[in-house]
Symmetry: C2
Subunit: 169 residues, 2 copies
DNA sequence: TCTAACCTTGACGTTGAGGTAAAACATCGC
DNA sequence: GCGATGTTTTACCTCAACGTCAAGGTTAGA
């Protein structure tokens, strides 16, 4: 362990994790974190004077989100980027909600965000539908299998019975 | 169009589509079909004397299944292979159900098939759950957005009203 | 028989999503 | 100041899932 928490260098409330710890806690490699950054999936992290990246808990959550979207749901990193971008827009709108200059510009941004969100929603519904269909098919198949299993048990019992009778005789 | 349906060359009931037509109907390329074959996702098709591949409707269905699993649900071809292999086992068991020699062997196979199917089922449930969570989050977000939208409209109306009053004065 | 359209195998290229290795800098505890 | 770790950038490697020629064989139809 070479470094402790550099907890006073940047801001008062940031959690300030270095890349190694983020990697460990999220289960991805450091390379992957840099790669995501390069691809715009993670925003450029603040740096220590020496150039070391400093992450926050929010970043960790985002990484976990990315992994879920990718591994569980099969989205590509490009699609995921679109999603996190939309999220970014939301946060931005949320933060800048007070200083209400340029209302019509905000309206445009908002419309864009809504559009993206609705597309995502539709995409997900498609996936859910497909999954449900698969699921019911699998259940059907399992039923069939169990039926066969019973059938096989019976057949075997009969065969055994015959064998025993023969052995007795 | 250089060839017609070679409908009498192999069997009486097979549909006999050539690779080009299968590609067109499924929306994948010929290269992809050969690739799937190479990877064991499609069984080796029967061939015309000249070596041309001949597919059936069942093959088309399988290709469509593969594409769904892959694009919609994010399974890798390796995972998909496992699934279609399981399906193959099922068909095999189904076909060989009559000649009931070696019952215990069949039981083993059946157990294996059940195991795979149940794993798939669980996997899919996980995915559905994750997707549902995402979906409700998105709906929540859309609600927020629409609220903001209304808010912005009001703000703009107010601003416009002021402007008009000023212009009148 | 000849040709246009279709198919074959083979080999190399590409893109996405990282892995791995190297050389040099940073930080901490001593 | 030094050594042990931890990080940084650069650069090349890999693996999956195809794309893209290239060179040649096949088939139906005029």
């Amino acid at each position: 362990m070479a470094q402790k928490r550099a907890s006073t260098a940047v801001g008062p409330e940031e959690s300030c994790l270095q890349i190694g710890e983020v990697a460990e806690r999220t289960g991805v490699t450091q390379r992957t974190l840099r790669f995501y950054e390069e691809k715009g999936l993670l925003k450029l992290p603040i740096r220590l004077e020496g150039g070391f990246r400093l992450y926050s808990e929010v970043d960790i959550q985002r990484v976990e989100q990315i992994k879920r979207l990718q591994k569980l749901l099969g989205f590509t990193l490009a699609e995921i980027k679109e999603m996190v971008d939309a999220e970014e827009v939301k946060l931005q709108l949320q933060a800048e909600y007070r200083p209400d200059a340029a209302i019509s510009q905000k309206k445009t941004q908002l419309l864009r965000a809504i559009e993206v969100t609705e597309r995502q929603h539709g995409l997900i519904r498609q996936k859910v539908d497909a999954l449900r269909e698969m699921q019911s098919k699998l259940e059907e198949r399992l039923d069939t299998f169990h039926g066969w299993q019973v059938h096989l048990e019976e057949a075997q019992a009969k065969a055994d019975g015959k064998a025993k009778t023969k052995a007795k005789a």
